[in-house]
């Protein structure tokens, strides 16, 4: 009403005003329009500017958001995690009669994360109970497309160091043999050295999810990436405390931070985190986000390797898969998310248990578990699996294995695609090899004066393989992988010295090319010179001790590792024939057919030597070295397999057997007799090798089931300061003792075509009754001596069995 009156008065005033008044009014209006126009222009500019800034800002923000969105989508929809490929050993096979202590059955349980169950009752998978003379173990299932093993409870009856019986606890059936799951030996880690075992959300037990929700993000299922209620609560709590005491990150924010961002605590980073969390929530379902979180979250260290995800953490702390976690174990994993190293159950068990109980309390208070479950869980003692940190030496095996894998498994595939590679490695032998080599090198260094040591670290390598199948069982390519990744077993070619000599002798004995000698033949150990082809120089070989012994038998010459007879034999046989034989046995390195090759001047890798000696041990059949059996993809499908290649016959078995017999003599009477004094019994054949000035020490030896090569030397060649028999031999002996014990199993089987006759050791003639001395010797059938001792009066020197029998009966000598 008042407004209406004022408006009427204004209209009346306007009607009553004259022309002057109107002029003034118009001028004022003009003036006002001018000022008002200026004002209006400024506002318009400001408005437009604001609009422009807002527009540009909007564009910028939109672009930023779009960029973040792209980052999120790419990471989530591509392969989300880089999962290192794992390498597993060969399985452990246990049977009645096996030496369970040598098999290290107790250690196997620990290494595989099995845990002792102190109380009685049913044994859960992954648990075991020791009692006097008995091991009861509930084996976990082993998942493999071609070689699966079921979960089952077994009873091992043990007595006097042996497994005397294996019983299936459920069926009561006695078992002849049990295959235990392979050990994870290492992994092809990426640059970040992260290890994880991916889990699917369906296989994660609900109580693990509940435990994580309870302590990390109660309202995970309700919020959209950022929990505003929790943010406000945290702000209020922090304001009251005057410092940051409470965080408000949701699981989504934690995931985003780990996935995409740096750990810095700035406002812009928090803003980015929140924005990305919203994007993630908008783009992906809650189960997808939770699964990503469960696989990404950092949960501790295994040595230098970062453990990510609940799957790997379950194995690290409890030696089992996440699916098998109890409520208390799940609560512990949730408890350590806050500070995996600060609350490490291994290093700070009290703190870990206290926080575990806090989580359990939260679970109870939030209604996630019953009070009864809570009581049971807090009463559960902390039982952790032993941490199995990888020894560096196994990395040499991995490097060599990666060379054997097909090219499709290039570096990045190995470090990111989570393959499971089943290898031929025998972890027990690998540890024995690493230990023997390390201790041996330390022993050598301790016994050589510092002044005579060359620069650099004394190095060595040890490789062991199965002669019949070529499976590489152990490989240590150097002293310290951390210092030098150069694999001296597979990449180094060093002068081999006397370990080459057996190839000369076998070439001379080879039936295929017509044997040049027998083991009873004699060779002159006298000064000898040879013109080096294509060179004006004369080569005059000498023995290690510079002594000439006159005529020596072929057997004795090799047993003593005499240089001069070996060089003479090489000349007699022809170096081309020697090279051809070495090639057949599996040597691929360049072999110059010069006289000095007979003494091992060629440079050959330890792996090649192992293969060549394996061919002798395997009756002249050359195996193909094999380091992996198959590759299984992350989805459990077999991808690539390397079936056992049959060994190929390259040498007459009888000739190979003569070679083996020669090398047995080297151990029994020759330069490797320290093997026997080290307490090793049974069939062992071996050869020592020391190059000029003791630069390279070699020892190659085999049993019917194992070939091993040891090399010791400096990368930059220099004198080691002792011969092979004192340097490399003890390493080999230590290894063999740890690998098979002091009693070597089996025998070198004698093939057809070998005859054993007594000969006169001074002449090599057939020893008859009346010969002053005799010793048994092996010959290829048809090459046994014709001449007799004492000489026969009959033509040809041989006498009939009938005449011999008569002489023996009637004492005609």
């Amino acid at each position: 009403m008042v407004k209406k009156k004022k408006a009427a008065a204004r209209r009346k005033a306007a009607r009553s005003s004259g022309p002057t008044r109107r002029k003034k009014s118009a001028a004022r209006a003009r003036s006002q329009r001018a000022v008002g126009g200026r004002w209006t222009g400024w506002k318009r500019v400001a408005g437009l500017t604001l609009l422009l800034v807002s527009f540009l800002g909007g564009l910028f923000v939109s672009r930023w958001v779009l960029e973040l969105d792209q980052v999120v989508v790419e990471r989530f929809e591509g392969r989300t995690f880089a999962v290192p490929s794992r390498v597993f050993s060969a399985p452990l096979i246990v049977y009645p009669g096996a030496d369970w202590q040598r098999l290290e059955l107790a250690d196997w349980l620990l290494r595989l994360g099995y845990r002792e169950q102190p109380e009685g009752g049913a044994i859960e998978p992954g648990r075991y109970v020791w009692s006097p003379g008995r091991l009861r173990v509930h084996l976990r299932s082993f998942d493999h497309p071609a070689r699966p093993e079921p979960a089952r409870e077994l009873i091992f009856e043990l007595a006097q160091g042996q497994v005397v019986g294996i019983l299936d606890a459920q069926s009561g059936q006695l078992m002849d043999v049990v295959v235990l799951e392979p050990e994870p030996v290492s992994a092809f880690l990426g640059r970040d050295r992260e290890q994880r075992d991916l889990v699917e959300i369906e296989e994660v037990p609900p109580h693990l999810v509940d435990a994580i929700f309870a302590v990390e993000d109660q309202r995970f299922t309700a919020h959209h990436g950022v929990d505003l209620r929790r943010v406000l609560g945290a702000v209020w709590a922090n304001l009251r405390a005057g410092r940051i005491t409470q965080g408000a990150s949701t699981l989504t924010q934690q995931l985003v931070k780990n996935f995409f961002l740096t750990p810095e605590r700035t406002f812009s980073r928090k803003l980015q985190e929140a924005c990305m969390a919203l994007i993630v929530e908008a783009r992906f379902s809650k189960p997808e986000i939770l699964q990503a979180y469960l696989n990404e979250i950092y949960l501790g260290q295994r040595g230098a390797t970062a453990v990510h995800g609940v799957g790997e953490a379950s194995r690290l702390y409890f030696g089992k898969s996440a699916a098998d976690l109890t409520v208390a174990e799940a609560a512990l994993i949730a408890a350590i998310i806050q500070s995996p190293n600060g609350i490490s159950p291994h290093r700070r068990p009290e703190r870990a248990v206290a926080r575990r109980d806090l989580v359990l309390g939260l679970m109870r208070d939030q209604g996630r578990i019953s009070n009864r479950s809570y009581q049971a869980a807090v009463a559960e003692p902390l039982r952790l699996a032993t941490i199995q940190t990888e020894t560096g030496e196994v990395r040499y095996f991995l490097d060599a294995l990666s060379q054997q894998l097909p090219e499709v498994y290039a570096g990045e595939v190995l470090t990111s695609e989570g393959l499971r590679i089943y290898s031929t490695l025998d972890p027990r032998l690998q540890r024995a090899a690493a230990r023997a080599l390390r201790q041996g090198l330390e022993r050598i260094e301790a016994s050589v004066s510092d002044s005579s040591k060359p620069q650099g670290s004394l190095q060595g390598c040890l490789i062991a393989l199965r002669p019949q199948t070529g499976e590489v069982l152990a490989l240590v390519g150097g002293r310290d992988y951390g210092q030098s990744q150069f694999n001296r077993c597979t990449q180094a070619r060093r002068q081999v010295g006397s370990v080459f000599k057996p190839f000369v002798y076998v070439a001379a004995l080879d039936r295929r090319t017509g044997p040049a000698v027998t083991l009873a033949s004699f060779i002159e150990d006298e000064p000898f010179e040879v013109e080096v082809p294509g060179d004006d120089q004369i080569w005059r070989p000498e023995n290690y001790d510079h002594i000439f012994r006159g005529p020596v038998s072929v057997r004795e010459a090799l047993e003593r590792s005499l240089n001069v007879p070996a060089a003479r034999l090489g000349e007699q046989v022809g170096m081309t024939r020697v090279v051809e034989l070495a090639r057949r046995l599996g040597i691929r390195s360049p072999l110059p057919a010069v006289p000095s090759l007979a003494l091992g001047t060629a440079e050959i890798s330890p792996l090649e030597l192992a293969r060549a000696y394996a061919t002798l041990a395997n009756g002249g059949r050359r195996p193909t070295p094999r380091m992996f059996v198959d590759v299984v993809e992350i989805n459990g499908m077999a991808q690539e397999s390397r079936p056992l290649d049959a060994s190929v016959a390259v040498l007459d078995p009888a000739t190979a057997y003569l070679g083996v017999s020669l090398l047995e003599g080297v151990v029994d009477r020759g330069t490797a007799r320290r093997i026997r004094s080290a307490g090793l019994k049974g069939p062992i054949a071996a050869k020592t090798g020391t190059t000029d000035d003791e630069f390279d020490l070699w020892f190659v030896g085999f049993t019917p089931e194992l070939v091993a090569v040891v090399w010791v030397g400096y990368d930059e060649p220099g004198p080691v300061g002792m011969p092979s028999s004192r340097g490399a031999l003890p390493i080999w002996a230590d290894f063999l003792k740890q690998a098979v014990g002091t009693e070597v199993r089996g025998r070198f089987a004698q093939p057809r075509g070998i005859v054993r006759v007594d000969v006169d050791p001074t002449s090599g003639a057939l020893a008859l009754s009346g010969c002053p001395a005799r010793k048994p010797e092996l010959f290829l059938e048809g090459t046994q001596p014709v001449a007799t001792c004492p000489p026969s009066k009959e033509r040809g020197g041989s006498e009939s069995g009938f005449r011999r029998t008569l002489r023996r009966w009637f004492g005609a000598d």
């Binding site: 497309p145 059996v629 049959a646 089987a749 057809r752």
Partner: protein
């Protein structure tokens, strides 16, 4: 002696069993198998060897038998795994190589099979186990390998010899996993 007779002699010699050698020598001397009724043998079944040898050999033979069972059930990959484990326990077990030769032939891998046959033969020989009942399988498997390799004429002679010696097993020219088990 005819060429065929000579071949039979060679095959017999490769078998190396005293009974078989005598039998085949008779056959070879006669030139044709029709002239002398062949003496048959009961070929070995690997399960008969269960319980023989030292603990490692016994375990290894058990694994070979498990492999044969897998082959019978049509699971060749699992069978292969068992054979390889058998060799892990005892790499000198000739039965494992025999079973792998059969397995490879069933999968058409004749070249590898021939090498396994030779390895088995060498190990049986060196262990003094190369008896006629083993030899007949070596002859028969060699026939299969030769046929797969295209040497049909030679394969036929080996087949006939194996078939004459063990008609119930080798009469059809194939050694099944169950027959070897």
């Amino acid at each position: 002696m005819s060429k065929e007779g000579m071949m039979r002699w060679r095959i017999a010699a490769s078998c190396k069993g005293p009974v078989l050698v005598l039998v085949l020598a008779g056959i070879a001397a006669c030139g044709t198998p029709q002239l002398a009724p062949p003496q048959t043998v009961e070929p070995i079944r690997i399960s008969q060897a269960l319980g023989q040898g030292d603990p490692a050999r016994r375990a290894s033979i058990r694994l070979v038998v498990q492999g044969l069972e897998e082959d019978e059930a049509g699971r060749p990959q699992r069978a292969r795994g068992s054979y390889e484990r058998a060799l892990q326990v005892d790499p000198t077990n000739p039965y494992a190589y025999l079973a792998m030769a059969r397995h490879d032939l069933a999968l058409g891998e004749a070249e590898d099979a021939l090498d396994f046959i030779e390895q088995a033969a060498a190990l049986f020989e060196s262990e003094g186990l190369r008896r006629p009942e083993v030899g007949v399988h070596l002859i028969g498997l060699r026939a299969e390998a030769l046929r797969a390799g295209g040497s049909n004429e030679e394969a036929q002679l080996y087949y006939e010899t194996a078939g004459d010696l063990a008609p119930e097993v080798w009469g059809d020219g194939v050694l099944s996993a169950s027959e070897l088990r």
